[in-house]
Subunit: 206 residues, 2 copies
């Protein structure tokens, strides 16, 4: 694409570096910004800059936070005996939006992936263990819920963490895998369907 | 959506103001920027700011330009007797990318739309007429090609400009409407197919 101006070419190149945004979309966004008042571009640029420069991560759970320790970790109504281990920040948001979970979180920052050169030391696994060890006796961590993706990497990470925690006498669980609510049996893949039968829930035990 | 940090909430709100980007995509983009080095956010913010602040428009054709008069208008190899009238800047880029046109352009900045309160005075129509009148005798404008969209508003604008230019003895043409190259007759809408028969091209005249 030939651009009539260096300025727009630079902007399109920079915007199209973002994931899922190609040159055409970037051009559309740039021309949109040109049609808006100058303050629109200013606040956008400012919010991107301050986000990157001033972002803090919670020292306990490694989630994004405005303070040293995030509002979930300091929450008075939170069940501090439960820790849900997730891969990344959007997962915390997704679980929080269900309003079904009242415990704490631990953001690993990724999963073990030998291909991408990510070993256990690159993740916040040691931090999870020392956090459990350091928990005060009145707020003892009793259960760790693994909520990682069911890829090869996610399963490896789950396995690794489970083995580490077992020796510590902590209960380790994983979120249920099965047919999504509203999903049809007929169109579910065999692995999911197979797992959902193996990990069936016993109604008569309630 | 509840955000763990005001900074990310602001960034997501600002990014999701862009057309076609919702809150989820905005969050994905913001988290992507957080994972990149700080210079990535800096150059992105900088390019957006400088684009909006330093952008210039060509005084002759109103296209985006780095100088007072754009490179197309000053181009030595351009046929200065032809002016192609388009609605907006992306249209210039689209026609330039075909490499089939060697004349000049004129960007109207929109089309006549009484519903949106855009009259002929809001567009660069007067500027087109004075530009034609001011053209020197060795580079006299001979033909104006209308390349506006085939909507009610586009057709109204074409009609308005045609009527203005007719009195000046300028040849006015419009780009051909018909079946796209590679398109199938069977699936073409009736209006397009009807027009393509009415405006058929006479092979025997060549």
């Amino acid at each position: 694409m030939n651009f009539p101006s260096k300025l727009i070419e630079n902007a399109v190149n920079e915007i199209s570096r973002l994931p899922g945004i190609g040159k055409k979309t970037a051009l559309r966004l740039a021309l949109h910004l040109l049609k808006q008042r100058e303050t629109v571009s200013e606040t956008l640029a400012h919010s991107i800059l301050t986000l990157r420069k001033e972002v803090k991560y919670c020292k306990v759970c490694h989630n994004i936070s405005d303070s040293e320790i995030c509002s979930i970790c300091t929450g008075m109504k939170r069940d501090k005996s439960l820790i849900c281990v997730v891969e990344d920040i959007p997962d915390v948001l997704a679980i929080e939006n269900t309003s079904q979970y009242n415990g704490l979180y631990h953001v690993l920052g990724g999963v073990i992936s030998p291909i991408q050169g990510i070993g256990p030391d690159e993740l916040k696994i040691e931090s999870l263990i020392s956090r459990i060890n350091a928990s005060p006796s009145d707020e003892k961590v009793e259960e760790v819920i693994l909520a990682l993706s069911t890829t090869m990497e996610g399963d490896t990470t789950s396995f690794y963490i489970t083995r580490k925690l077992k020796t510590m006498g902590i209960k380790v669980s994983t979120i249920a895998r099965g047919i999504p609510v509203g999903g049809e049996l007929e169109y579910t893949d065999e692995v999911t369907l197979g797992r959902s039968i193996l990990t069936r829930i016993n109604y008569s035990a309630d």
